[in-house]
Amino acid sequence: MTRTLTFLGLESSCDDTAAAVVRMEETGPRILASVVAGQTALHAPYGGVVPEIAARAHAEKLDLCVEEALAEAGVTLADLDGVAVTAGPGLIGGVMSGVMCAKGIAAGAGLPLVGVNHLAGHALTPQLTEGLAFPYLLLLVSGGHCQFLIAHGPEEFTRLGGTIDDAPGEAFDKTAKLLGLPQPGGPAVEAEAMSGDPKAVHFPRPLLDRPGCDMSFSGLKTALLRARDAEVAEHGGLRRQARRDLCAGFQAAVTDVLAEKSRRALREYLAHAPEHPAFAVAGGVAANATIRARLEQVAAEVGATFAAPPLKLCTDNAAMIAYAGIARFETGAQDGMDLSARPRWPLDRSAPAMLGSGKKGAKA
């Protein structure tokens, strides 16, 4: 019998400051509170997340989010069994603020501290929300990450492949910026694409001609820039319909790449003969209706259950960190007051590095 465990979670690895309280009961996990304070407005003038601005906001917001989450959950620190915190990978200034705040809370409250890999938080979310059984295939696709993982257990992941350059969410943001659309780019580009012709402008399908599950998205941005500049040169500006077509063409290319690579990842996953085959997507890009529908179709083709957690648990949040912390804690893991914040921390340490294989180690 598993005993009831209640954990506080803290997340600050990118541009969302978040705190949550999750309770593991005999019947399964329950989110008692999940507070997310975004920073979109702070970064909007810069066309992307500025690490120092993010870190400054996290440092002065984390404890407020924790207080709000505790109040919303109707618990005090005395009701908790532990504190879980994102210890990487991510923007180091923010991660460090979160880790230090968590240490202060854990030390003062006499609670165990558990450092959580942010990617594990995303990867375990389908368990938290859908109760998916291991092993399942996960596509994590967000502004900072893009990878296929087989989740075998709470701390056991196999990475089948991922992006070798930009993450799709980043590519959506850059597309929006190049086309004069607002940030965050995902929803803005999707809305434009609805009334655009995806075939009006041809976009490449990077790496589809190569075997495996690795992806590349930076070339799409270059193709978009060229097409935009050609349009501007010809007409002295960007016509609204041309902008819609560019958005539709870009989105179609991203969708095709994700769908085909998902097919390949599913083949590799199904070779493990899972009893209940399941394909889950997590990350903000999973909110794109076109992409989501195509991935759902790919899962249906091979008879795998398709799962996409609700959007607020797909994007960065602390409930997933609290849940992953409970999962780690249940395996007997716990960290000391010397817990490090790590900018780089691949989930699957056996897979060769995709990004940044320098002396600082693999980024993903």
Partner: protein, 217 residues
Amino acid sequence: MPAEGYVLGFDTSAAHCAAALLHAGRPVAERREEMSKGQAERLMPLLEELLACAGIGWHDLAAIGVGTGPGNFTGVRISVAAARGLALSLGIPAIGVSTLEAQAEGLPRPVTVVEDARRGEVYLQSFTADGASEPALLPLTELPPGIAGHALTGSAAALAYAEVQAGEIVEPAMPLAEAIARIAARRAGTPQPRPAPLYLRSADAAPPSDPPPVILD
């Protein structure tokens, strides 16, 4: 009323981990370790060692004083975030103390604290019988003339002395963390804002250089 019990002060705003413990206004334990990195890993164990050395635990603290800089951005955040977490869990105030103010603690007025801010600039604040000036980030070549008769202290005191050619260079009256704890102890009796880093220098982010295209209707 100042805090009568134990007050812990700590700082990681530069290449060190420093902490001091006061009891009834008197220093009872102090630690300072020089390090250019690793403060995030070292700070909490060092604080626990300091408390253990005085034979007390976290719950014996009445207030916390934390160095808010100016200084290394990441270093300042390490201490401020930890202090805010501790304040939340212990239910005691955490009080932010600028390292400029801390360095002037216990020194005769007038005194000007000048800290090296690199790039030819300094962080500067003057303390006179009338009070303190606003802390500022200034080019070393544009020091306020009013500091000419002041005692100078801080890591850039010698640089400032070479510029103004007046006054004298003095050493701080006490270790930095002790000064932070003393100032925090004095303020602990009145409501204080949560500690926040004193950056003085902006985040150094520039808006994108390439303008968006002209949209044609």
